[in-house]
Amino acid sequence: MGLREVLTPFTVWKHVFDEPVTIKNPIGRPAADRYRGFHQNDMASCIGCGTCEAICQNAAIDMVPVDGIETRTGDSGLRPQIDYGRCCWCALCVDVCMTGSLTMSNEYTWVDTDPDAFRFVPGLEEPWKDDEEGYEREGKRVLSGIERIHMEEMPPETRISNFEEIVDGYSRAEAILEADRCVECGLCVATCPAHMSIPDYIAAVRDQDYDRGLEILYETNPFSEVCGRVCTHKCETSCAALHEGDPIAIRWLKRHIVDEVPFDRRLELIGKPAAPTGRKVAIIGAGPAGLTAAFDLARAGHGVVVFEALSHAGGMMRYGIPEYRLPYEALDRDIGVIEAMGVEIRTNCRVGRDVTMDALRRDYDSVILAIGLNMGRSTRVPGTEGPGVEKAVDLLRRITDGEEVPVPERLVVIGGGNVAMDIARSMARLQMQKYGRVGVTLTALEDIDHFLADREEIVESREEGVQIFDARGPQEVVRDESGAVTGLRTWRVKSIFDADGRFAPAYDEGDEQIHEGTMVIEAIGQMADTSLLEEALTEALEWNRGRIRIDGAFRTSEPWLFAAGDAVKGPDVINAVADGHRVARTVMDELAAREVMQ
């Protein structure tokens, strides 16, 4: 031990005159920009999907209702409440947030004597609500997939010349990847008219348990194969994933499950119906609503007879939707399952002609009216009377029946809904087959962003050569001296609805166009053909603006008669399926009640 070692330590005394490092006022010193402080939530963009709750490993987050936030499609109306007696500030909730609404401030001081005070709903009135700084994730979410798995489909140049199905369907590997993106929030379930257990069957795809998936599908929808192809998939508009990326391809995944289960296995899984009850129900119309009701009733053991005026069952699914979207075999398989439940379908049997309503009322315990909308509406602009003007639904029915339909080289379609797209694309295919080129013009009142048709329909129509003119109001079907159609005159639409929200299109008369074509097809909507009811019953029933009035449970004013489907509600397959279930439940309740009374 030398003297040097004793003295050296004293050299640090030189620091005695250094500036002190003490922070003058440390309380409330601002934290770094990225600091993970207390939570913030943008109430407007939060959708209450509960993914934050699902990922929180501390069970610190509760989903609670908040004043002023209403439940609506794509927003559960719930908001996260955070328990700071649990939180560990890991910010996984921020990283996983589907909308990016949940962030963190860089505020960190919260002192309280009451341990119950450390719970709050971020986004209401915390002082750091509007703080700019604090943790936000870099870019879009990375903890779940953003982009939809691409669905292989036939290129336009191949598909335009035939009626073969366009999309291929997912392979197993693709389906797993797509199913993996789902966060199981369940926002879609209430949006689906039939309340299908979407997250559950997607989970079944993920687990490759197709049997379970199929059972889940059949709990709520006997037309899963149809819906897997042509459903309007409102669920995908409420999907939490669409806020940063693509919604989950719910429809394709549904189809994938059905594709993976062979028909025989399907029958096995669904099992046998219950023991016969001896009750009989007549259903008029073999469309989705009628057949769904038939399925439910038959499974409960009731005897069901479905009366169908046309030569095949399926209703609009067969006669409205073209084959390239829904192959007939797919539909036949779904109907086959229903028939296997013991449902009798009498085709070519028109009520009112081959059998009367009175007879049905007499022979059956209940009658369900599910006649759908099968008569096309007309625009009633000048020139629509006479040859060369067709209704889309009539044409589609004739195409399905294999009839020869007139195929002109150029034609004009009026309407912006799915039916308009269907007929435009069907006619385009026929034109291709006949002339080798497409000459379809489509006009609609709405501008392109407000078309009622599905987005992909519009895209695919354009790909197939359909020319779309949006915001055009039809004024007259132009005819030459001989009376033959030469085109459609339209004005540009300034607005469709008036100040009160009533339908009253306003036109810009200066912007006039003549769309050339030797045929005009109207596809602006349909109505029900209620002539089968006959006079006495029509008189007896209560009506509501041309539709039979029903209550919330699908009862008409006649106790034995129920009505469901497009004829009373609308507007698509999945709604019809939902109606079918509900009317079936009402009928079963009624039958059970009658049993008790007797």
């Binding site: 509760d62 439940t71 719930l78 926002l187 919330g552 439940r585």
Partner: protein, 178 residues
Amino acid sequence: MEMRHLHALLKQRHSLGQLEPKGGKLAFVTVPRENLRGLLTELRDVHGFTHLVLLTAVDWMEDGLFQLTYMLNNRGRDMTLGIRVMLDRQEAQGDSIHDLWPTAATYQRELKEMFGIDFPGSPRIDEEFILEGWTDLPPYRRDFDSLAYSQQTYAERPGRVTHDPREYMKSKLYPDGV
């Protein structure tokens, strides 16, 4: 491939199972309980696996087995070998190796406390190690449910409710339940 070479060398003598390589530097192999001691001694004294990295157990409750994992490392050749010994879950008794590596005694004490696997002869094996006054199942066993125990033993702060978005939406949008 050195690891394969080593495996081939020892396979017969110690009735080793299949070698399961994980990359070039790490491999796992199963050995019967009676061959463990011989294998460890040979690996340590002859093949340079002098460092006992860890000793732990995995509970394969469904199969009725405990897996003991002895992780040995050869620093010079940068090889790590995980040696698995399967024990009957009912018996749950292993062989102490505290004389090969004194530090193994600590691991064995932990295994005794946390899994209930006994190592007769290991120093202080019956003393409490981490837990104090523990009366329930050894906590690392799969059949011990931590959450249930916690809820039963310690009070949670009451007053929290949560809602499932799926059911809540249905009840709000379809109050009739349809």
